[in-house]
């Protein structure tokens, strides 16, 4: 179903972007395998949009390199045709009708899949004669997604696609997106500041905090190798045999930890419980924000 390519879909080395004196993104190393649904997570202002704009060639890097589908982003018209991009708030042309959007898609894209676009619009129950300015937020997002998919890209880049949608429209949007992945095997990179939006759909995660990559890896591996430990109070310096401590908190008699460990936790004093992706990401965000450890980039990119 998925084209398993040898080379990563997105590869960045020392990538950075500076606006004036401020680095919106710095020292970013990434290697995103093909056929994944990649969640790009981070607080507002972490550099998510900057990274996505670099990936689709809307911005040139200030430092380092980024290669997408084996080429320079935006390097040629042919290369652009292989990438679908949905900017924040799913912009459409308010005064154009649904049908006119499809027409335009056909004119502008060499690989345009008119059947898919027409069928999808029917399934969504959109009136082709309706102007997009009068559609609901959810309908507009679905129309924009239909346009991006009908272009038949190998990589689909979505910037905060569900942020402005109500819960039902959000679920429906993600259902459509996952169906597209199942049928066409496209690689997807989508950003959000809410991990809950992405938890179900992503199998690969990139966490950005203040312009740096704080964590990256396969979701299943991340969940399997992180644990929450609770036990009797221990001092910070005396935590051994628990792996790499990502987060710790101490109250009078109890210590709770979030740890990264590939092996089992052998010390019977700890009660070991699984951790949710949400809590895991928050632990790394906190760690990166407080600057305790420069980067935990240790999780290998599994193919």
């Amino acid at each position: 179903m998925n084209t398993v390519l040898e080379r990563p879909v997105v590869e960045a080395h020392g990538l950075g972007k500076r606006y004036g004196r401020r680095w919106a993104l710095s020292a970013c190393d990434l290697s995103i395998p093909a056929g994944r649904v990649v969640g790009l997570v981070g607080p507002n202002g972490a550099g998510k949009t900057t990274l996505l704009h670099l990936a689709v060639g809307l911005l040139p890097p200030s430092a380092g390199t980024i290669s997408v589908l084996g080429g320079e982003p935006g390097g040629s018209t042919e290369h652009l045709a292989r990438i679908g991009f949905l900017a924040q708030e799913s912009p459409t042309y308010a005064r154009l009708t649904v049908a006119q959007h499809l027409q335009m898609g056909q004119w502008l894209n060499p690989q345009w899949d008119a059947d898919f676009a027409r069928t999808r619009v029917e399934e969504l129950g959109l009136d082709p004669r309706q102007r997009s300015g009068t559609l609901s937020g959810g309908q507009r997002a679905q129309l924009a997604l239909t346009l991006a998919v009908a272009k038949r890209p190998e990589l689909l880049v979505l910037d905060e696609p569900v942020a402005a949608l109500d819960p039902l429209a959000r679920r429906e949007f993600l259902q459509t997106l996952m169906e597209v992945v199942a049928v066409h095997g496209v690689t997807v990179v989508l950003s959000s500041h809410l991990i809950a939006d992405l938890e179900r759909v992503c199998d690969y995660l990139v966490v950005l905090v203040t312009g740096r990559v704080a964590l990256t890896g396969e979701v299943d591996e991340l969940l399997a190798s992180h644990h929450r430990l609770t036990g009797p109070r221990r001092e910070t310096g005396r935590l051994s045999g628990v792996g790499n401590v990502i987060e710790e908190s101490h109250v009078e008699r109890q210590t709770s930890l979030v740890v990264h460990s590939d092996g089992p936790i052998l010390d019977p004093a700890w009660a070991v419980t699984p951790i949710t992706l949400d809590d895991l990401v928050l632990a790394y965000m906190k760690q990166a924000r407080d600057g305790r450890v420069a980067s935990t980039h240790g999780l290998a990119v599994a193919q």
């Binding site: 179903m1 998925n2 056929g35 994944r36 649904v37 679920r171 993600l174 259902q175 997106l177 996952m178 169906e179 992945v181 199942a182 049928v183 809950a196 938890e199 179900r200 759909v201 992503c202 199998d203 979701v219 299943d220 969940l223 399997a224 419980t273 699984p274 951790i275 949710t276």
Partner: protein, 131 residues
């Protein structure tokens, strides 16, 4: 055909939840050899989850010898799990209820009882190397 559900707060990986639900359906007789599992497209269209997750679950089930993928046709149940005898299930439930009542009479609170159960459960399955 069965329908999958997800418990996002369980902390159990999504593909494991799918595998467990097929196991349960087999144990309870809701799935039998010859039955078809929903296609990846059907599952993702209803749950809004990653199709790779579904395929991963189905691969695990195939490795266990419980299902087989037939290209172009779907994934079919080919194996069976030992079904627990309903009478023995009922017997264990009765002895568990007895135990719970005794714990209550001894003055233990529901939380304490649950903590004891969880600890004993974890210890047992850790010993067996399952958990």
């Amino acid at each position: 055909m069965i329908e999958f559900h997800l418990d996002p707060s369980s902390g159990v990986a999504t593909y494991v939840q799918l595998v467990q639900q097929v196991h349960q359906a087999l144990q309870l007789g809701m799935l039998e050899p010859g039955d078809r599992l929903p296609t990846a497209q059907q599952v993702v269209a209803s749950l809004a989850i990653n199709p790779n997750t579904v395929l991963k679950a189905y691969r695990d089930l195939e490795r266990e010898g419980l299902v087989r993928a037939r290209p172009g046709l779907g994934t079919f149940v080919v194996g069976q799990l030992p079904r627990t005898d309903p009478a023995s299930q009922a017997r264990f439930r009765r002895s568990m209820s007895d135990w719970l009542r005794k714990a209550r009479t001894a003055g233990l609170s529901p939380d304490e009882i649950e903590a004891i159960y969880r600890t004993a459960f974890r210890d047992l399955f850790n010993e067996e190397g399952v958990a």
